[in-house]
C-alpha cells in the first residue's frame, strides 16, 4: 500500500517534469536548431544569475539594510553601487559571450574504450574570457574544457568521450558557458552540432590455433588468418606486365616465347574461400566476442592490404530459402570484398551497427 501511494505521488510529478522537459526540448530545437556552425547571439544565449550572483544580491540587500538602519548615506550609496554593478556585470557577461563562432563536425568513430575527441573550433573577433564547454548530457562523464582566454582568430579545443559499448550513440547538445567578470552571471548556451559517435567493437586478438579448434571443418582457409606473409603463393591469379626488379622465376615464359610481351605471373592465396570474413566462423558462442574477433581481423587485413568481404548474416549460403525481407537485410549486412581504409571503415561500421 505504502509503495503504491508513493508511486501515485511520484508518477504525476515525473509526468509533469517530463512534460516540461519535452516541451523545453522542443523549444530548444526550434530556438537552436542542429547546425555545424553556430554563432552566439541574442537568440541562443541564456543568461542567469549564478548561485554566487544570488548570494551577492542577498549581500547587497544586507548592505542596504545596514545603511538604512544606520541612516547612513554612504553605505546606501555603496549598496546602490554594488546593485548597479550587478547589472553592468550582466551586460558585460553577455557581451563577453556573444559573437563567438563555434564549428564542429558531427561524426566521430573509433573502437570501444578508445577516447574519442570532438574538435570544436572557436572563431572570435575580439578577446573572450573564460569559455567552458562540456556535453550537456552529464552521464557521458566528459571533461569540462576551459579556454581561459580566447584570442582573436581561431583556436581549437576538443571534448573527449569514451564508450565501451559498440553502436551508434547520439551525444546530444554541447553546453558552453562562461562566468566571466566576477562570476555573478552564468551565460550559457546549448548548441546542437548533431554530435554522434560510432563505436566499433573492441578488437580481440585471434590466433591460428584458436580458430582451428573452434572452427567448423572448413579446412581451406586457415593460413589466411595468420597475420604474416599475406600475399600468398598458391594459386595463379593474373598476369601483369613485367616490372624491372621482379623475380625472373615469375616470368610467364609461355607468353614471352609467343612474343606477346614480357609478363610476370602473380599468385594469391585461395581468394574464393578467404575473402569472406564470416561472423558465423568466429570461434565463440557469444555474439560480442565474435564481433570483437572480426574487428581485429578487419584491422589486420587492412594493414596487410588484403582484399576481403564481410559477411555478418549466417544464411548467405541458403539465401535461396530465405524470404525477401531477410535477403535485403543480408545484402546490407554483407559487404562485398574490397580493401583500403574506406572499406575498413565500412566494415567496422557494419560491425558496430550489427544488431
Amino acid at each position: 500500500m505504502v509503495t503504491k501511494a508513493a508511486k501515485a505521488k511520484f508518477l504525476p510529478r515525473q509526468l509533469i517534469s517530463g512534460f516540461f522537459k519535452s516541451n523545453f526540448e522542443r523549444w530548444l530545437a526550434r530556438r537552436i536548431p542542429k547546425r555545424q556552425e553556430h554563432q552566439l547571439n541574442r537568440r541562443n544565449i541564456m543568461i542567469y544569475p549564478s548561485r554566487f550572483g544570488m548570494a551577492y544580491l542577498g549581500f547587497v540587500i544586507l548592505v542596504f539594510l545596514l545603511g538604512t538602519n544606520y541612516q547612513n548615506n554612504i553605505i546606501l550609496l555603496l549598496s546602490y553601487l554594488l546593485a548597479s554593478l550587478f547589472i553592468s556585470v550582466m551586460l558585460h557577461s553577455f557581451y563577453n559571450f556573444s559573437q563567438i563562432r563555434f564549428f564542429s563536425l558531427a561524426k566521430q568513430q573509433g573502437y570501444a574504450d578508445d577516447t574519442l575527441s570532438f574538435a570544436i573550433k572557436i572563431t572570435a573577433e575580439k578577446i573572450h574570457y573564460d569559455i567552458n564547454a562540456h556535453f550537456t548530457d552529464r552521464t557521458l562523464n566528459s571533461n569540462i574544457e576551459t579556454v581561459e582566454q580566447c584570442q582573436r582568430g581561431s583556436q581549437e579545443f576538443s571534448l573527449r568521450v569514451k564508450s565501451s559499448q559498440r553502436g551508434k550513440h547520439f551525444l546530444g547538445r554541447v553546453t558552453i558557458f562562461s562566468e566571466y567578470s566576477l562570476g555573478l552571471f552564468k551565460s550559457k548556451t546549448v548548441l546542437d552540432f548533431g554530435h554522434y559517435v560510432i563505436i566499433f567493437p573492441k578488437p580481440r586478438r585471434l590466433t591460428l590455433a584458436q580458430y582451428q579448434c573452434s572452427a567448423q571443418e572448413d579446412s581451406a582457409s586457415i593460413e589466411s588468418y595468420h597475420t604474416a606473409n599475406l600475399v600468398g603463393t598458391d594459386d595463379f591469379c593474373e598476369l601483369k606486365s613485367f616490372v624491372r626488379g621482379e623475380s625472373r622465376a615469375r616470368t610467364a615464359w609461355k607468353q614471352l616465347a609467343k612474343g606477346q610481351g614480357h609478363f610476370s605471373k602473380h599468385y594469391q592465396s585461395s581468394q574464393n574461400q578467404l575473402q569472406w570474413l564470416k561472423l558465423s566462423d568466429m570461434p565463440s558462442d557469444e555474439l560480442e566476442t565474435k564481433l570483437a574477433y572480426l574487428s581485429f581481423l578487419i584491422g589486420e587485413f587492412t594493414t596487410s592490404n588484403q582484399t576481403f568481404g564481410l559477411q555478418l548474416s549466417a544464411n548467405i549460403d541458403n539465401s535461396t530459402n530465405t524470404t525477401n525481407t531477410t535477403n535485403t537485410t543480408n545484402t546490407l549486412l554483407n559487404i562485398q570484398p574490397s580493401s583500403g581504409i574506406n572499406h575498413q571503415q565500412a566494415c567496422l561500421t557494419a560491425l558496430a551497427l550489427y544488431q
Binding site: F52, Y80, Q99, D130, N143, G183, T207
Partner: protein
C-alpha cells in the same frame, strides 16, 4: 600472447574522471587576497579592541607563513616536473595542482579550537565593549579565519563577500570624503581579486582597469538610485556606534582645551551663503555653558535638566525673536560626528527650517537629541548684537554667584578689593582685563601644572596659561566680587575657504572650524543688558581673538604634535595649503550633498525638477528614471561592444568603382558581393549593351589598379584615366536613359 578480456560487457561510459572541483588560487592571487584582507581589516582597525587586533594580525601572519611555505614546496615540485615535461603550459598546470596538494590545510581541529576560543573571548567582552563592536569583532574574526579554509570556489566567494561587508561596516564610523575614497579603492582591489579568478592570464593592473571601468559604468545607475530611491526609515533599532567622543567635554579644568588644540581634526563647518561673514572676533561658536564650579573644575548645571517642565521652560531658554530689531544672520552648520550631543551656534540664535533633532538649551546653546555619530546639518538664525537673557531668575542668579568659599583665598581677597574700588560692574570687569594685560601674563599651550587646579596658583604664581585658565580666573573673580558670571566653552573663529570677492559681495565659501579652534570665555550678567560676553584671552593675546593663532602658538603646536605634516607647515607651505583648502571644499560639498542628503532634500529636489506632485507621480518618476538609466546603460554598452567596422579608407579608384556600381544599381543591376569584377562586366555587357564598352574599360582599369603592382606615377595616371572613363560611363548612362 593470448588475451582474453573477462569483462565483456561494460555498459557504462568511460572516463571516470574524479569530479573533484579542482579549485586553486594562483600564488599571485593568494597573496593579493591576503593583501586585501590586511587592508580591509586595517580600515576598520581603529574601532576594534587591541586584543582583537592582536589575534587578527596573528592569524594574518600565520596565513602569510603558510603562503610562503607553499612557495618553497612548489619550487621543489617545479624542478622535478620540468625535468619530465618541458611544455610550459602543462608545466604551470602541474605546478598549480602541486600547489593545491602541497598546501597542507591547517588541521580543522586546531581551527575549530581557535574559533571557539575567539568566540568565547568575544562573548565575554561583549558587555564591556558594546554590541556593535563585538559584532565587528565577530565579523573580522570570521573574516580572517575563513581564509584558512579556502578549498572551493564557494569558500572564496564567501571570503570575498565578508571582506566587502567589513568595508561597508567601516563606513558606519567614518563617512568623510577621504574615508569614502579609501573604501572605494579597496572595493576596486577586492573586486579585481575576484575578477582575477576568471582571467588570471591577464595582468592584475589590467583587471583593476576592467573593474574601474565596470564601476564607472555602474556609477550612473547608482547615482540615479541614490537620488530617486525612497529613503526609508530604520527598520529596527541598531546598536549605535560608540566611538571615543571628540571635542569639548562636559567638564572643564584649566589645561583641558590646550590638550584639545593639538588635534587638527575638523569640528564643524558653517556656511553663510551669500551673506557677509562676521568679523573673526565675532565668531564665538557657543557649545556649552558651564555654571557649576566646585573649586577644581567647571561643569554643566544639572538642575535644569532634571526638573524641567516641557514646553514653557524650553521657551524661556530660547531667544525671543519678536522683541529684537536686529537683522538676523542665517547660516547652515554641518557638524562632524563627535559622539556627543552638543551643537554649535552664534548666540543668541534660533533654529529655523527643519529643526527636528535639535533642542534649544538653557544658556542659549543647542543640543542634538541623538548622539552625533554622523555629520549633522542644521540651520540657524543669529541676532549677533541683540542682548539676551535680560531677565534672570533668582535661582539662576544664585547659581551664577556661587563658588566654594576659601577655595582660592587670594583671588577672593582680590575680588573684594575690586568690589570696593570699582562700583560699576563694567569698570570692574575692565579692571581685571587691564590687570591681566598689564601684568606679565603669558598665553601658552603648555601651561605649568597647577596643584589641585588652584586658580590662585595660576593667577599669582605661574601666570601662564591657556584660555581656560584666564576664563576660569576671570569668572571666579567676577563671582567673588558679586557679579553673576559663568564659563562658556566652544570654538572661536574658523578658517574661511572659498573665494571672498569683496566687490561683488558674493561669497561662495564656508568656514571650517577645527578642534584647535576650541576656546573658553566667560559671560557676566548685567542688569538691563543681560549676558555679556567677556573674553579674557583678548587681554593677554589679542591676536588670538582678532585673527586666530599667532605664529608662536602655531610653532608651539607643531612642537607638541608629532604629525607628519604639522599645522604650522600646512599653513605656511603655500601649495600645500591651497591643496588642503581645495580638498576641504570638496569634502564640504560631499558632506553637504551626499552625507546630508535626506528625505527632505530628496523631496525638494523633485519639487525643483518636476514641480509639486502627488505620491503616485513620485513613484512613476522613480520607476521611469530607473528604466531610462538602465536603457542608457544598455545602449552604451551595446554601442561599445559593436563589432568594429573595418574603417580602412577606400582608395580613390575603389570609390569611383563603388560610385559606378551605385549608378548601375539604380538601373536595377546589382553586383552580388561574391561576383568578380570581370564577371559583372560581362553581365553588364549582356544586359545593357549600350554601357558595355565604357563599363568594361572602367572595370579593366579597376582590375589593373587593384591587382597589378604599379609605380605611384603610373597609378595616378591610371586613376585619372579611370576618372575619365567614369565620366564617359555617366554620359552613356544618361544617353541610354
Amino acid at each position: 600472447m593470448i588475451f582474453f578480456n573477462t569483462k565483456v560487457n561494460q555498459q557504462s561510459w568511460g572516463i571516470k574522471q574524479k569530479a573533484s572541483s579542482s579549485f586553486y588560487l594562483s600564488r599571485k592571487n593568494s597573496w593579493l587576497l591576503w593583501l586585501c584582507q590586511c587592508l580591509n581589516v586595517a580600515v576598520i582597525g581603529l574601532e576594534l579592541s587591541t586584543w582583537m587586533l592582536g589575534i587578527i594580525s596573528l592569524a594574518l601572519a600565520w596565513q602569510a607563513h603558510l603562503l610562503h611555505q607553499s612557495r618553497d614546496s612548489v619550487r621543489n615540485k617545479k624542478q622535478l616536473k620540468t625535468a619530465k615535461q618541458p611544455g610550459p603550459r602543462q608545466g604551470t598546470r602541474q605546478s598549480k595542482h602541486a600547489n593545491n596538494n602541497q598546501n597542507k590545510p591547517v588541521s580543522p581541529i586546531i581551527l575549530a579550537v581557535f574559533a571557539l576560543l575567539g568566540c568565547l573571548a568575544i562573548a565575554i567582552t561583549a558587555k564591556q565593549v558594546g554590541i556593535l563592536v563585538s559584532m565587528l569583532h565577530l565579523l573580522c574574526f570570521s573574516y580572517v579565519l575563513k581564509a584558512f579554509e579556502v578549498r572551493s570556489r564557494r569558500d572564496f566567494y564567501q571570503l570575498l563577500l565578508l571582506g566587502l561587508f567589513v568595508l561597508a561596516a567601516s563606513l558606519i564610523f567614518r563617512q568623510d570624503l577621504t574615508a569614502t575614497l579609501i573604501i572605494l579603492t579597496l572595493l576596486v582591489l577586492n573586486l579585481a581579486v575576484l575578477h582575477q579568478l576568471f582571467s588570471y592570464q591577464r595582468k592584475f593592473v589590467a583587471n583593476v582597469k576592467v573593474i574601474i571601468m565596470l564601476l564607472t559604468q555602474s556609477a550612473l545607475l547608482a547615482v540615479v538610485l541614490f537620488l530617486v530611491f525612497p529613503r526609508l526609515s530604520p527598520f529596527w533599532q541598531v546598536p549605535s556606534a560608540k566611538s571615543a567622543a571628540t571635542g569639548l567635554s562636559d567638564t572643564v579644568k584649566p589645561g583641558d582645551i590646550a590638550n584639545l588644540t593639538r588635534s587638527t581634526k575638523l569640528a564643524f563647518r558653517a556656511d553663510f551663503g551669500q551673506q557677509a561673514i562676521p568679523a573673526y572676533s565675532q565668531l564665538y561658536w557657543r557649545a556649552m555653558v558651564l555654571e557649576d564650579y566646585d573649586g577644581r573644575q567647571w561643569t554643566r548645571q544639572k538642575r535644569f535638566a532634571s526638573n524641567k517642565i516641557p514646553g514653557a521652560k524650553i521657551k524661556a531658554f530660547s531667544f525671543d525673536v519678536s522683541k529684537t530689531e536686529v537683522s538676523p544672520l542665517t547660516y547652515q552648520v554641518v557638524a562632524e560626528p563627535s559622539y556627543q550631543k552638543y551643537l554649535f551656534a552664534l548666540a543668541p540664535a534660533v533654529a529655523i527650517g527643519d529643526s527636528s533633532g535639535i533642542k534649544a538649551q538653557a544658556g542659549y546653546t543647542f543640543n542634538s537629541t541623538k548622539m552625533l555619530s554622523q555629520a549633522k546639518s542644521y540651520q540657524l538664525s543669529s541676532y549677533l548684537t541683540a542682548p539676551f537673557g535680560v531677565e534672570l531668575s533668582q535661582k539662576s542668579k544664585m547659581a551664577n554667584l556661587s563658588y566654594p568659599k576659601n577655595s582660592n583665598p587670594r583671588l577672593e581677597q582680590l575680588a573684594l578689593q575690586l568690589q570696593h574700588n570699582y562700583v560699576d560692574v563694567m569698570s570692574r570687569a575692565q579692571a581685571v582685563l587691564t590687570l591681566i594685560n598689564k601684568e606679565n601674563y603669558a598665553y601658552t599651550l603648555q601651561p605649568p601644572l597647577l596643584d589641585n587646579n588652584s586658580l590662585d596658583q595660576f593667577f599669582f604664581d605661574t601666570q601662564a596659561g591657556f584660555c581656560v585658565h584666564y576664563a576660569s580666573a576671570f569668572t571666579f573673580l567676577m563671582r567673588a566680587s558679586g557679579i553673576p558670571a559663568r564659563m562658556v566653552t566652544g570654538y572661536l573663529g574658523g578658517e574661511y575657504n572659498g573665494i571672498n570677492d569683496s566687490q561683488q559681495a558674493d561669497n561662495t565659501g564656508h568656514l571650517s572650524i577645527y578642534q584647535y579652534d576650541a576656546h573658553a570665555w566667560s559671560e557676566i550678567w548685567i542688569e538691563g543688558k543681560g549676558w555679556l560676553r567677556i573674553d579674557p584671552t583678548s587681554a593677554v593675546d589679542p591676536q588670538r581673538v582678532d585673527s586666530g593663532w599667532s605664529t608662536r602658538l602655531l610653532q608651539e603646536q607643531s612642537a607638541l604634535n608629532n604629525d607628519l605634516l604639522s599645522l604650522y607647515q600646512m599653513k605656511n607651505i603655500k601649495w600645500l595649503s591651497a591643496l588642503r583648502l581645495q580638498f576641504d571644499a570638496l569634502d564640504y560639498q560631499w558632506t553637504r550633498w551626499v552625507i546630508g542628503f535626506n528625505n527632505k532634500q530628496q523631496y525638494d529636489l523633485f519639487k525643483h525638477w518636476f514641480g509639486k506632485m502627488a505620491s503616485w507621480k513620485l513613484a512613476l518618476i522613480m520607476a521611469v528614471s530607473l528604466v531610462v538609466t538602465m536603457a542608457i546603460l544598455m545602449l552604451f554598452l551595446h554601442l561599445l561592444n559593436q563589432p568594429k567596422k573595418k574603417s580602412r579608407s577606400l582608395t580613390k579608384w575603389q570609390r569611383i568603382y563603388q560610385k559606378s556600381l551605385t549608378q548601375l544599381a539604380k538601373q536595377g543591376l546589382d553586383k552580388p558581393v561574391a561576383m568578380t569584377v570581370n564577371d559583372f562586366s560581362k553581365q553588364v555587357r549582356r544586359e545593357c549593351p549600350e554601357l558595355a564598352i565604357v563599363f568594361t574599360r572602367l572595370s579593366a582599369s579597376y582590375n589593373c589598379l587593384c591587382y597589378q603592382p604599379l609605380s605611384a606615377a603610373k597609378q595616378e595616371e591610371l586613376t585619372l584615366a579611370m576618372q575619365h572613363q567614369y565620366q564617359h560611363f555617366i554620359h552613356a548612362m544618361k544617353r541610354s536613359a
